[in-house]
Amino acid sequence: MSPLIAHTDPVMDANLMNAEVPPGAEFWFGTDAQGRDIYSRVLYGARISLTVGVLSQLINTAIGVALGMSAGYWGGWWDDVVSGLTNMMLAIPSLVFALAIMAILSPGLTSLLIALGLTNWSYTCRLARASTLSLRNQGYVQAARILGYGDLRIMLTQILPNILGPIIVIGTLGMGGAVLAEAALSFLGLGIRPPFPSWGSMLSDARDQITTAPWISIFPGLAIFVTVLGLNLLGDGLRDILDPQARARTA
């Protein structure tokens, strides 16, 4: 979509003679220090920032649900192991963890997905485990067990659909977090592979021009704000739709 609505190429259409042009008719959002159209870069940046946000959060959710649900369902030593892992991941400063992974794998989209996708699943895991625990002894789950369903089938068909609501909410909130984490990594020099733009890297690149050319940072900043706001509202909306209690309240 971006190539269609963007004016110019966000990387190659750099014209240093047009550096730091304020917003106007030709450049709607102005240009950056390299003379690149910020409007185009914000559009392209959306692709990377949203990919990072959505995909890394999907990975987190998958890991968190798989670990949390199995731990809650099976209990025992596996539960202990997962709880330990969860506590560990909660406790390790995730930014430093991500930084180390980025340094090892060297910056880029895949590395970002790994760095951010492997480090933020603990909340989801905790939630999935707690919800599974409360469902494990429900009648319909026990009925399924009596019917001879396999553990995996029970988890996937009986438990998963019933714990998904709050997990999706956490997931949407985490997407905003991932967009910001990418910005922080860019600030520390290990974000997305330049020269391709992400909102975070645009923002961190522009920090020295905050007084001389504020528009360079305002627009990616606004993009992040609107996105996180949207994701939060989406999360709230999903909670209202998916939370059985909230549904009962309105019915």
Partner: protein
Amino acid sequence: MLSYLARRLIQTIPILLAVAALIFILFSVIPGSFASSLGDDGKSVLDAETMARMNRELGLSDPIYVRFARYVGQLAQFDLGVSFRTRQPVAVVIAERLWPSAQLALASMGFAIFVGVPLGFVAALRPGSLIDTGSMVLAVSGLSLPKFWLGLLLMYLFALKLGWLPSFGYGDGGLKHLLLPAVALGVSPLALLARTTRAAVLEILDADFVRTARSKGMSETRVVRWHLARNALVIVLTTVGLQFGSVIGQAVVVEKLFSWPGLGSLLIDSVSLRDLPVVQGAILTIVMIFLVINLTVDALCAAIDPRIKYT
């Protein structure tokens, strides 16, 4: 109670060991070394021979399993090793950062709690009101502004434009220097706390016992004071614990920006200088603090909510 605490403390040992192993492996395969960092500004020059000697001296030329065995051996004796760069014991290097870190964490969490929790309360009691919407927007701003960005804005506003506060530094460790970094760091836990509190209060407002309280002829303020606050506190405390623990690790960017002498900036500097013993020690310390804080929170919750038992 005591045996519960003791058991919980013992449970942290495998976690600490796992963290130690994970960090050790990560920072063993990471490219770059302390010696190469001594020539990284393009100005200073470290000659090849000294570099090689330095790697030998620091034990970096040994195979990874030898180094790991040595490291675990040290840990078993509660020895975090010696910093590559200052050649002081890691424990000493970390100790001098603890108090500033604690100050920053306490101040930012204090700010988050004393603003976020009441905000969440008010928003929940008047859902859909201006305050509710306002606090939601504020919360989202807090969650969507990168910290370095927010820090810079605060500096411009409160130091440069208004001249109320110094823009950077530790000063004598007083409130004046603490305020701006604490706010920059506290805004995102504030946002989370406000949202969690709001959700918790809304849920409790729907609880049967609140209806009971009302059926007794209680005014809304008394309902909140006598029945709601304590119940909400449990949920809020758990969030506070999780945030408190992670705020120390998240302080990296803010400490760098404000020249604050905390663990975060120590950690990030040690990462960029590849001072591995300090990196490992600092992370272990942060993890330990996190675990202890959460243990404390659990104990507090148990004290507040009689349903929670020490199991």
